[in-house]
């Protein structure tokens, strides 16, 4: 152990231990709160993912039917020039000092039915159906993106906080306590030996002065 057993170091250590203990408590609280938020996000993510997966499967199966009816060139041509475009905005929300994104989006035309980039005469109804469903599920997809990113960011922060809490609890704080104990014992020992030495000196001085004998 490479510490000097002096009173100054002891005082320093005591101060650090106090800070560490307080930090530990704060971090523990942070971890618990993050965990609670995380659980909410997880639940939401699970739900959204199930919805998106189901919605997309439906949309794709409708698209498959459409592509079976129409020729591939025709299908591709119909979707070549989109009429709709999406503008995405993003700002950050602060959850326990974690910056998580919040998306807002705007479509170029307000009408959600305005996604058909083709004339209805030469395309099959299944294609319309597929696109409508895709448009519906997109709303959920956007929310899923937000929730999933939030989840990842929170997971990272929780991992970090958990490590810090554990490092403080199991390494830093015990080590400091040990050191404090070591120093105070060492100081006491020094004190004792000084006392003994003084007593001995006193005895010698007394004896020399008037042949004092115990």
């Amino acid at each position: 152990m490479a510490i000097t057993p002096t009173r100054m170091v002891l005082n320093q250590l005591k101060g650090r231990l106090k800070t560490a203990t307080r930090g530990h408590k704060l971090l523990k609280d942070k971890r618990d709160e993050l965990m609670r938020q995380f659980m909410d996000v997880i639940r939401k993510n699970k739900e959204l993912r199930a919805r998106v997966e189901q919605g997309l499967t439906e949309a794709f199966s409708a698209l498959t039917v459409a592509s079976a009816i129409m020729s591939p060139e025709m299908l591709e041509q119909s979707l070549l020039y989109p009429r709709q475009s999406v503008e995405l905005g993003m700002r950050f929300q602060n959850i326990m000092s974690v910056n998580v994104p919040v998306y807002s989006f705007k479509t170029r035309s307000e009408d959600s039915a305005d996604i058909f980039s083709y004339g209805f005469a030469q395309t099959s109804g299944e294609l319309d159906d597929a696109l409508t469903r895709l448009g519906e599920v997109f709303q959920d997809m956007l929310e899923l993106a937000q929730v999933e990113k939030t989840m990842q960011m929170l997971a990272q922060e929780i991992e970090k906080t958990r490590r810090r809490v554990n490092a403080l609890e199991y390494v830093m704080i015990p080590e400091m306590q040990e050191n404090i104990k070591y120093i105070s014992m060492k100081l006491e020992e020094n004190e004792n030996s000084t006392k003994v030495r003084l007593m001995k000196v006193k005895e010698m001085v007394l004896q020399k002065a008037h042949n004092f004998q115990y």
Partner: protein, 106 residues
């Protein structure tokens, strides 16, 4: 203005084009990985990149996706392909839980 991109098979991606999203067809996982790499690093701001699950099964692709996990942007989100959900999206959720809690509690 931020952008949304979809990386997937030609057929998968087609429908999203009509919605006004930027679509990047990829033939295989390797190509998908390269596209993701370019998009994430490009000057234009891609906030969300949807990637078809089929490609994410590939090891290199999975690593590339994992690199963006801790960054606020872009959000790389797996979506099921034409063959239906493969469960990789659910797996991502489990991984996050495991990372946060230290064990799989779900």
């Amino acid at each position: 203005m931020l952008k949304i991109a979809v990386i997937g098979g030609r057929e998968t991606v087609m429908g999203f084009k009509a919605l006004g999203l930027e679509t990047r067809p990829a033939a295989n996982a390797d190509e998908a990985r390269r596209i993701l790499h370019t998009l994430a690093r490009s000057e234009e701001d891609y906030a969300i990149i949807y990637v078809e699950e089929t490609f994410a099964a590939d090891g290199d692709m999975a690593r590339e996706i994992a690199r963006y996990k801790d960054l606020p942007k872009p959000a790389v989100i797996l979506i099921p392909g034409r063959e239906g959900p493969l469960g990789l999206g659910q797996q991502a959720l489990q991984e996050a839980v495991e990372r946060a809690v230290g064990s799989d509690i779900l």
